[in-house]
Amino acid sequence: MLVMQGIVKQFPGVRALDGVDLDVRAGEVHCLLGQNGAGKSTLIKVLAGAHQPDEGTILFEGKEVRPTSPIDAIRLGFATIYQELDLVDGLSVAENIFLGHEHARFGFTNRAAANRAASEVLARLGHPEIRPSTEVGRLSPAAKQVVSMARALSREARLIIMDEPSAALAHDEVANLFRIIRELTAQGVAVVYISHRLEEIREIGDRVTVLKDGRTVAVGLAARDTPTSRIVSLMTGRNVEYVFPPRGGRELGDEVLRVENLSARGVFSDVSFSVRAGEIVGLAGLVGSGRSEILEAVYGARPASGRVLLSGKQVRRGVVGTVRHGMGLAPEERKAQALLLDQSVTANITLGTLPEFSKFGWLDRKRERAEARRLSEALDIRPPDPERPIRTLSGGNQQKAVLARWLLGGRRLLLLDEPTRGVDVGARAELYAVIHDLAKQGIGVLLVSSEVPEVLGLADRVLVLREGRVIHEGDAAGLDEHRVLDMIMNGKAA
């Protein structure tokens, strides 16, 4: 029914899709597998009309199509259910279901008709208990998912794309989701299903396509019979060359961080570990495993119970306190969480340590510039001009500036969340070298990455997380990518 061939999508500095093929039949559940950054989200966005591919063809029911906008995609009969549900909380269930194609005459909505139609769709989905007039903001995540699906159904979608639909659901709700999916496929609707949980794919999927580094590496594998080891090796055997600095040459000092029984309800529980000076500790896990959230909790940016000790002393909660005590965070979303895009590289570098550059609030701009220049040179930030607005730099150089921010003011512990996201291969190697240098200077580093080889290559010690719990802790040298992925996906502490 849907055939995609040779889809290429280029972003500045990154080739997100580099020749993807996908072939979905009517009435099947087609699973899309791949590690983070493999190109799944970009592919979905192409189908949803949010991105236009640079090359390649899309055939739908035999005709070539090219969705140029979300509306276009909906008209074609594609519906996408995103991970973060795209519902309007302030509107009723019925209003959400028919958003964009309301029951209306001359611009006046017909509420009764909409509610009736919504009831019908919801009943068809096996959820007659959801009242069409309820405000969506009051619904549970599972019920919201049903509303999302009702919206797709009401538009008579022929192809429904689900991006990790089970992530927000409890176990019995997943069973209901699967029942709904089966009913849909029985009616000839095709479902593209994205999930990291292999057991789900085994249960609901018909065929599997595996993506890796923006390419299709396997098409149409049988979802039930293909051995796990085959799937994992397809997802991993990679083309990207990782150039890690050699291990060793570092002396581990005293413990800088000790985390005891850190818990946040529904996110992670009972996490304990420590980081020594000069040590790099990696957290491996999927999105939703709690890895970024643990980092934020350690940093004081997210409430959690348990104790966080920095060099043996309990830290006052809150970012102001942890930064003063020598922590620094390079957050996951560089642009949204770390950078002042309008400001100069200098202003971005000194943002975390302004008091160091001031007397009685008066900024010593000369010293500030000199320091930014020194760090730009030390980290080889290009172009070598700290007065440029940071938005004109490439992702890798922006990331270096974020790291440079925490080279100031005597940091003892750095928390790095996806330090190489959206960074090209060359800059990666440089960032790895910088991270090693930091550790060499006696800073403790806690690293989160969704790329398992990165965690294994950089870290001395690795904690494997699954669904908010540490399921394995050990030396990085004793682990390989296969085993870690196996633990992450199947939950076996092999």
Binding site: Y299, A301, V319, V320, T322, V323, R324, L329, P331, A336, Q337, A338, L339, L340, L341, D342, Q343, S344, A347, L351, G352, L354, P355, E356, F357, S358, G361, W362, L363, R365, K366, R367, R369, A370, E371, R373, R374, E377, P384, D385, P386, E387, R388, R391, T392, R405, L407, L408, G409, G410, R411, Q441, I443
Partner: protein, 340 residues
């Protein structure tokens, strides 16, 4: 880590060519934006010279323009900080009125002019702190919190004054002297205005407070994760705005010799308009004091030209509306050109 930081700093390669080379460029971009405003001002001056050659360029007219601009000008400085910090303060006019009333009650007046001035500033700062606390710690939307303050402060001013205009008594005429005494032919209140502008410029461009203001407005999440106390800073921004209202209250008392609950009606709109015309983004993170002041002067000059030419005040409002739209449209084009 901090050791090499300190020892290397002054001697570092810092003063080499590239820095020297680009700073003026950046400044040039900044000034380019102001250049448009300066050009607009120049056009208005030419219009004034052509239409009223007899009385536009007179000393008395220019001084009256500056005196008129002084009150709102001081408020505009505070508003610029709040808006760069990502907020909005609708209560400025009402807070100024409240400060003027409070400072001119018989009780306050009995302590003399210095106490009156201090009282006005304290009342303004206090109201600003309330705004800031509600927004930063009470998590109210700035629009709502300051709208509530606008209504309530005006009501309190009416209550305190019984809706009467309170005259400044003869023994406290030192306050009125601010508008009547002149140095080099210019009234003292214009100097106060200039002083506030200079101090505001320094605070915004040369201190950590200013840098943090840009950070908090430009990307509050990044500011928070960089260890900046965003809430405290937000509260201080509104307190600063309130303090400016208190200073403005002194100036309006000097000009009108009264304190009144009707002072400063719709000043909030003029102040916000001046800030916007000056190129400050309403979404925060970008803007300049100089731009705001130029924006204000453009507005004041238009008023002056309409009055001198005996034109209808309704047409004057239409002209002001058009100027706001044109200014913002032009700035948006500039932004696009600057984007990489």
């Amino acid at each position: 880590m901090s050791e090499p930081t300190k020892s290397q700093a002054p001697a570092a390669t810092g003063r080499a060519g590239p820095i020297r080379g680009t700073v003026p460029v950046l400044r040039g971009v900044g000034e380019m934006r102001h250049l448009g405003l300066v050009a607009a001002l120049a056009i208005l001056v030419v219009v004034g010279l052509v239409t009223r050659p007899d009385n536009f360029a007179t000393a008395s007219n220019l001084i009256s323009i500056l005196s008129l601009a002084a009150t709102i000008g001081v408020i505009t400085v505070g508003a610029t900080f709040v808006i760069i910090g990502g907020g909005i303060d609708l209560s400025v006019g009402a807070v100024m009125a409240l400060a003027s009333v409070w400072a001119t009650t018989l009780a306050t007046q009995s302590y003399g002019p210095v106490v009156m001035a201090i009282c006005a500033i304290l009342v303004g700062t206090g109201a600003g702190l309330v705004n800031g606390w509600l927004i930063a710690y009470g998590r109210l939307v700035p629009f709502i919190a300051t709208l509530a303050m606008l209504v309530a402060a005006r009501g309190l001013a009416q209550r305190m004054s019984d809706r009467r205009t309170q005259l400044i008594q003869a023994e406290n005429s030192a306050i009125v002297d601010l508008s009547t005494s002149r140095v080099l032919g210019i009234p003292l209140l214009v100097y106060i205005f200039a002083l506030v502008v200079v101090l505001g410029w320094i605070l915004l461009n040369r201190t950590t407070f200013g840098r943090r203001t840009y950070a908090v407005g430009g990307n509050p999440e990044a500011a928070r994760l960089a260890g900046i106390d965003v809430r405290r800073h937000t509260m201080l921004l509104y307190a600063l705005s309130g303090m400016c209202c208190g200073i403005a209250a002194i100036l309006i008392m000097a000009r009108t010799t009264t304190g009144s609950s009707t002072h400063g009606d719709l000043y909030e709109l003029d102040a916000i308009a001046a800030v916007i015309i000056g190129g400050t983004l309403l979404t925060g993170g970008r803007g300049t004091i100089i731009g705001s002041i130029l924006g204000l002067l453009i507005f004041t000059l238009i008023t002056n030209l309409f009055i001198l030419n005996g034109l209808n005040t309704s047409d004057q409002l239409i002209a002001k509306g058009l100027i706001i739209v044109v200014a913002v449209l032009l700035q948006r084009r500039n932004l696009k050109e600057r984007a990489p």
